[in-house]
């Protein structure tokens, strides 16, 4: 028995070494950028990182400010774009970022992205407090009903996300979840791959079973009063005058209308006549999808006279 276990342990050493080499050579897993929490309590990426994205031939890049994508050449006539993984856009090459498409469509203006996957609506506004110091003309915040629901601690407490506490009427900053363990896991590509490939199946099934649309619609409806309190807090504590809130297509209408009724400047993206915005097995937008979004955004900005063509 002892010999058996020792031999397995010895066998694992060359196996892990070869496995790691193969995993890295074949890019079986995407590289995950490392994060930190800045002095304002915002989770950002450690600046100047670069890594490959599985399934693509491109590399993602983190700029010197700790956000994905390139920084504009200068900060005059600046517009800021804030969002989650859709704007972070690791799955597409850098040319397909919103800032690049918008710059092409509106060359007089500069665009800067500040995005990170998993940001809540309230965290986007916290980020905007920082980017407001750059005096942007407009701040475009991409959001969705889930980002809004996840912003409220009383609906669902999420430790690693920044949330608004209705009871305490304050912002609770997110904490990093097991950063050491994540760093170790992401560094060992072979182990990370196996972890992803052979995930626990039961929680996955349970999670999937909740994914039907009816309960999630109810979730929004029954939490509207809490969302209203969140919006009241936002109006009091953030400058929403120069903000445009962009909602994803097919968004929950109750939430969208609540924003509209509360005098938020909103925009609803429309892909009803074009269903090719997303990847086949990933809801994120392709380069084509991003291009269409940028076109709709330009129209909205012109309509509202937020910019001059």
């Amino acid at each position: 028995m002892k010999k058996f276990i020792i031999n397995i342990a010895i066998f694992l050493v060359p196996l892990l070494v070869v496995g790691e080499l193969v995993a890295r050579y074949n890019h079986v897993m995407s590289e995950i950028p490392r994060r930190f929490i800045d002095s304002h309590g915002i989770q950002k990426y450690i600046p100047n990182q670069k890594g490959y994205w599985q399934g693509g031939e491109h590399y993602w890049e983190i700029n010197s400010m700790g956000w994905p994508g390139e920084l504009p050449k200068d900060f005059n006539n600046l517009n800021v774009i804030i969002g989650d993984s859709f704007i972070e856009n690791f799955m597409n090459p850098i040319e397909c970022h919103q800032s690049n498409y918008l710059k092409k469509l509106m060359p007089k203006y500069n665009f800067m992205e500040a995005s990170r996957s998993g940001v809540t609506f309230i965290e986007s506004l916290e980020i905007s407090k920082q980017t407001d110091t750059l005096s942007p003309i407009k701040t475009i915040i991409f959001t969705g009903p889930n980002d809004i629901i996840e912003s409220i601690e009383e609906i669902k407490k999420i430790n690693d996300a920044t949330q608004y506490s209705i009871n305490q009427n304050t912002i609770i900053k997110g904490k990093m979840k097991s950063p050491g363990l994540k760093k170790a896991l992401y560094s060992m590509k072979a182990i990370y791959y196996l972890y992803n490939r052979f995930r626990f199946s039961i929680p996955k099934i349970k999670k999937n079973s909740k994914n039907n649309s009816k309960p999630s619609q109810n979730k929004y409806k029954k939490n509207l009063s809490k969302v209203k309190l969140l919006l009241d807090y936002v109006k009091l504590n953030y400058d929403i005058e120069n903000k445009l809130f962009v909602f994803s297509p097919k968004t929950n209408q109750d939430i969208y209308m609540l924003f509209k009724d509360n005098a938020f400047n909103v925009m609803l993206l429309d892909n009803s006549k074009d269903d090719k915005w997303s990847f086949d097995h990933d809801p994120h937008w392709t380069c084509y999808g991003h291009e269409q979004v940028a076109k709709q955004l330009k129209t909205k900005l012109l309509e509202d006279s937020m910019i001059i063509n």
Partner: protein, 477 residues
């Protein structure tokens, strides 16, 4: 819990370590640990299934005890029938109820009248066909006085629920497996290494061969109208390897894990795609089910001892029932009947036991005649697999109809060279390892660095060419 899941990779080392460290030299503790871990393994799918397996264990254990003390033949027969009715009743209800109701409604509709019976929303308990047959073999063997009924309920529970083979076999005979629960299991290094090697080969078959072939088989079978005859043939070819890799892979993992725990299970597959005729194929494919039907159905029906009519009748019965065992669908029945048609000429001409030895025994390569025989046998099984895989009989006929057109000789629209390369590698290993219980069993002649490099190669191939994770096909049976 799937064998190819993270939870099983955590579950197995824990149970293995506890089994040999804590339970070592204490037979009751070992059996208790096996029972508890098997119930956990099975309950991972749905805890409600546990009541079924527990009830089945209690019924068959009690009947076994009663059969021991009952001398009166009629009463003994009654007890046997109670066991058969309970076990087959469960199977019939969970697996076949809706099929019979639907078929009845269809029959009435065919004759112009309407029958209103509602089908039920029944969940099919995973592996019910396997453990039902296993417990039935216990009662029948006790009834036939081939086996002494066990007094040890814990050992019996462990026998019924033994997790490595619980959900997809091999279907063990009580005469082989149950006595092993009464004996002290000792850790044997060589046996455990052999077991681990078989697990590795089984995982390779499942993760690399079956799951990759499944991707293409599904693509082609889901839209057959989009493809040429040659691609449809390729679809059937991929399904043949999917089902072989899937099921024999599961059997290898089950047998290998059992060896890690000191048990010897019966062989379930013996390189069936190297068979020279269909009779040989059926001696090499799903051996535990074929022999079960042979011993508990074919022989009691008279086997091949009667006249020609009886031979034909019994052959059809065993193949059709075997097909029906796989699932409540006419496709499986047609698949069984088609195999009976393949088999009958050999039986009637008394040529069903011509090829009982290993193909090209002692040689590196087969003769041209053997190659032709193997290819012919493989091709006719391929045709039968179309029925097995299709959603219904009409689709299967349409698939075959579209396949046997002139486009059969055109270049296939789908030609995944990587998968075909992997299949060639796999079949080469199987060919050169065909004299062993499993393909890489006799790898011991290589020295350690080469042997370990080969294991690493297999793991890296699993790592690099892993297909989309799929449940084992036979779980649904």
């Amino acid at each position: 819990m799937l064998f190819n899941s993270l939870e099983f990779f955590i579950f197995l080392p824990i149970v293995f370590t506890l089994y040999w460290l804590i339970g070592n030299k204490r037979i009751q503790q070992q059996n208790l640990l096996i029972t508890v871990s098997s119930y956990l393994f099975y309950g991972w799918w749905d805890w409600r299934f546990l009541f079924l397996i527990l009830f089945s264990s209690i019924v068959d254990y009690t009947i076994g005890q009663k059969l021991k003390i009952t001398k009166h033949p009629a009463r003994r027969k009654l007890l046997l029938w109670v066991s058969i009715c309970v076990n087959i009743g469960f199977l019939g209800f969970f697996k076949y109820f809706n099929f019979f109701v639907d078929s009845l409604i269809d029959s009435f509709t065919f004759f112009g009248s309407e029958l209103k019976i509602n089908t039920l929303n029944i969940i099919l308990p995973v592996g019910i066909s396997f453990y039902t047959f296993q417990t039935l073999s216990y009662t029948i063997d006790v009834y036939n006085k081939k086996l002494e009924p066990t007094k040890n309920f814990l050992a019996f529970m462990a026998f019924v629920s033994f997790f490595p083979q619980l959900v997809a076999g091999p279907i063990e005979r009580a005469t082989n497996l149950l006595p092993q629960f009464h004996k002290q299991r000792e850790f044997v290094y060589s046996k455990s290494v052999d077991g681990l090697r078989q697990v590795l080969w089984g995982l390779f078959k499942k993760v690399v061969i079956a799951d990759n072939c499944a991707t293409y088989a599904n693509m082609i079978f889901n839209n057959p109208e989009d493809y040429s005859g040659s691609t449809l043939l390729l679809g059937a070819f991929f399904f043949a390897f999917q089902i072989y890799g899937d099921f024999s892979g599961y059997s290898d993992i089950a047998i290998g894990i059992s060896r890690l725990f000191g048990f010897n299970l019966k062989r379930n597959f013996a390189f069936p795609y190297f068979s020279r005729d269909i009779a040989e194929f059926w001696r090499r494919w799903h051996i535990s089910l074929s022999t079960w039907f042979r011993d508990y159905l074919y022989i009691p029906l008279g086997g091949s001892k009667g006249g020609t009519k009886m031979k034909i009748r019994n052959t059809f019965i065993i193949f059709v029932v075997s097909g029906f065992w796989h699932g409540a669908n006419w496709t499986f029945i047609v698949w069984g009947a088609l195999n009976a048609l393949y088999f009958l000429p050999l039986l009637l001409l008394n040529k069903n036991r011509v090829n009982t030895n290993l193909v090209a025994e002692g040689k590196y390569f087969p003769s041209l005649k053997e190659i032709f025989q193997m290819m012919t046998t493989f091709f006719i099984t391929l045709i039968a697999w179309v029925f097995f895989r299709a959603d219904n009989v009409t689709n299967a006929f349409m698939y075959l109809n579209d396949m046997f057109t002139l486009s059969l000789f055109s270049k296939p629209e789908i030609l995944p060279f990587t998968i075909l390369g992997l299949l060639s590698f796999f079949m080469a290993i199987e060919w050169f390892g065909r004299s062993g219980e499993f393909a890489i069993q006799k790898i011991d002649f290589m020295n350690k660095p080469i042997r370990w490099s080969f294991y690493i190669l297999l793991i890296i191939l699993m790592f690099s060419f892993t297909g989309e994770q799929q449940e084992f096909i036979y779980f649904q049976f």
